[in-house]
Symmetry: C2
Subunit: 456 residues, 2 copies
């Protein structure tokens, strides 16, 4: 792999060199020979002057392939439009796959959008407008309308002819959907099926039916789950009249899976880990809202401790173990939270199984609490030569962990029930909340046993 990387780097340098030297022919050949992903990687590192040359050396159709691959960051991609002529942009957009085209157009302000739509033919413009309408993160928002469809009373060889003609434009020709005259989805034939069938066979006789499909307003995560479970290469999207209106391909689903798992990960840490800015002010401004919110929760804990100041001044030893108890309970609660959130993401839970999950987490907390509680009792007892104190700490730890596990499992489930994404209940939130309950438990227990462990 290191060899490939080095090879790629040398090639990249050569291509940029041709561009700088104005070797139009060389650049054109070398650049268009690359995989579109590599084209995008190179294009996004160019400076403005170099890009201006690219717009001269490549046709809009050629550059449209590159733009199909700058899918990760549509916000950045549309900035290049300002450097191109209106006609160049219009033609470039026209040659992109509709799903990527819509991603880019969705980034523009109304004024610019209207300008580009005005340059398209009316049918295309209406189609784009309809696609722009779908809510973010739905099947409609990620589907492509560039698909090949065949009809059931066609023969295999005539269907193959349709696919040959569509092969240049369709996102996939490996999964071919069968529709009737009303464009209603009837079945599916894979190209593999077609190859294995007799040329004179009728599509209607070899198609698989019923075919699984999704609705345009289905959640993209559900589509991802189906494609993953069934190992499909594509999934058809229908409207409420069961008409085929789009196709979602597996490469787009991989991006969805990546996006969703990055969200889960970010949620757990209480920070958008995809932010990736090196500007500390920008980074801080994104992280502060969550931290300030938790700071207020932390102030409640402080004010609770404040109520126990009398106890603390009598037994300052109690302060020694505050962070031990809050820390361990917070860690256990975070584990519970992560298990519960994943479970909610993976399974379709019933009321019953959700209750079982909470009970299981609370009992797990109890077992963990008993083990760590006994360990702490012994350690503190020996260290401070005071087993009553040890027992207070141990008992507090056991109770605090059990409560933290209850919170860690109950809160995401509650959020899921009321329709909030449970991934928002971050580790920091659970551990800050558990600080509050842990301190309350700790000092309440200490208060009860105060006269038994104070030796002075």
């Amino acid at each position: 792999m290191a060899d490939t990387e080095k090879y790629n780097q040398i090639k990249t340098e050569e291509i940029i060199d041709s561009l700088d030297k104005g070797q139009r022919y060389n650049f054109h050949n070398e650049f268009t020979d690359l995989h579109v992903y590599e084209q995008a990687e190179i294009f996004t590192t160019l400076d403005k002057e170099q890009r201006q040359r690219v717009y001269q050396y490549l046709t809009p159709k050629e550059l449209s392939d590159t733009f199909d691959a700058i899918e990760d960051d549509p916000e950045e991609a549309v900035k290049y439009f300002d450097e191109m002529s209106l006609k160049y942009v219009a033609e470039l957009l026209d040659n992109m796959y509709t799903d990527n085209e819509v991603d880019l157009l969705g980034q523009l302000d109304k004024h610019k959008l209207a300008k580009y739509l005005g340059l398209m033919d009316k049918d295309k413009a209406n189609e784009i407008k309809a696609l722009l309408h779908y809510e973010d993160k739905t099947a409609g928002a990620i589907m492509s309308t560039d698909f090949a469809s065949i009809v059931s009373n066609q023969t295999v060889s005539s269907a193959m002819q349709v696919l040959r003609e569509e092969a240049g434009n369709a996102e996939t020709i490996y999964y071919d959907y069968v529709v009737n005259n009303d464009k209603r989805l009837l079945g599916i034939v894979t190209l593999r099926n077609l190859l294995m069938s007799d040329e004179t066979a009728l599509i209607g006789d070899i198609m698989t039916t019923p075919v699984m499909s999704v609705k345009a307003d289905d959640d993209q995560e559900d589509v991802a789950k189906m494609i993953r479970d069934y190992n499909f290469l594509a999934m058809p999207v229908t409207n409420y009249d069961e008409q085929l209106i789009g196709v979602i391909t597996v490469d787009d689903i991989i991006d969805v899976i990546d996006e969703e798992s990055a969200e889960d990960y970010s949620g757990l840490a209480g920070v958008d880990t995809e932010e990736q800015t090196e500007n500390p002010f920008k980074a801080a401004s994104k992280r502060l809202p969550w931290l300030i919110t938790l700071l207020f929760l932390g102030m409640s804990t402080a004010s609770l401790v404040s109520h126990f100041e009398g106890l603390l001044s009598e037994a300052s030893i109690l302060a020694v173990f505050i962070s031990l108890i809050t820390g361990t309970a917070g860690n256990a609660g975070t584990q519970s939270l992560a298990v519960a959130v994943r479970r909610l993401a993976v399974k379709d839970d019933t009321e019953q199984s959700v209750v079982r999950l909470i009970i299981s987490e609370v009992f797990t907390g109890l077992v963990i609490g008993v083990v760590t509680g006994i360990a702490v009792t012994l350690i503190v007892g020996i260290w401070k030569g005071n087993f009553v104190l040890g027992m207070v700490i141990g008992l507090a730890m056991m109770s605090a962990i059990t409560v933290a596990n209850l919170a860690g499992s109950f809160i995401p489930i509650l959020m899921d029930k009321i329709g909030v994404d449970p991934a928002v209940a971050s580790g920091p939130f659970i551990s800050t909340l558990s600080d509050l309950t842990s301190v309350l438990i700790y000092f309440s227990i200490a208060q009860v046993f105060l006269k038994f462990f104070i030796t002075s």
Copy 2:
């Protein structure tokens, strides 16, 4: 989707009903009509008696499709082998895709493995042995050897004929790899290319070259990254003689992406979130090692606070803010950690950019620290009517957050450098470690300013 679910449930009930009633013909037709994923879902819910009927009603070849789909849990899947005759198992295995077959065989003890290998023909057995040899999580461990290959001096129509013949066995015929007489990988032709080309064209003239490939011992995560970036449907695997030895398909890569992201998520929480047991003892035993380790780190913090008991008995008010400071710093450190781990996972970082990342995180911590520090100074100053105390808390919080961000970014980078997966540096670890530094910072600052804020 709800409709589909209901429909599926009714169908499932009907199929199980046919099985229970011994309606061999009905069951056979209905079951084999299902998608293999659904077959697997149903099969794994059956009881032993029902399964025995399945072994009678389905041929090993038919059931092999079902077993291809029980890929998530090979450990469970091999348990069914004990219920089947030796010959049934051998034939079932023989009809599975090699990658799944190897997954199952890898679960068996040596004795059983030898028994099944003995029933295969010698070439196949040797191939399986070679595949079993690849280390977990490498390209070799997930590749399949069921691929179609074509040669460069073939015409398009003769290549199509090869694919027609292979279509029943190969994992994919949509990506076709071109090899020379020594089986060395020369190029790739997609089925789409074939369809769009003239029937008499030579493969050598239409193939894409050079073709990207991976080595059998490459990390599966690197393969996933390439397939994701390039939107490939498959990736060829070669040995060190550049001979084509296997193919990895996109559906297996989706499983890899899922597995790796679950690992990252689990790492951040310090718990294996895929465990999903409802037995509290089992769950506790998996979570305790990490918690006990952190408990000892927490005991160091307690022993540090213990050194400051004199200070605490003079100013018990200090105890009020321990959890506020440790909690906020821990939260900020967890954010830093998550950002750093993701950054390491996504980018190939240079020495320089890694240093920049740490500097950026420390400055972000400083900015966050100044903002929260000022907020806390004012809140505590007003609340307790003591602005010197407020300033001590604010200053401690600012320093503690900056240090937590340093630890949160530096530690995963250090781990990455020494070859440990940075995902192991969990949120709980960083927040427990940051408890220690926060407490040290807090009491040191308090000690210096003690005489200014003690009012009594």
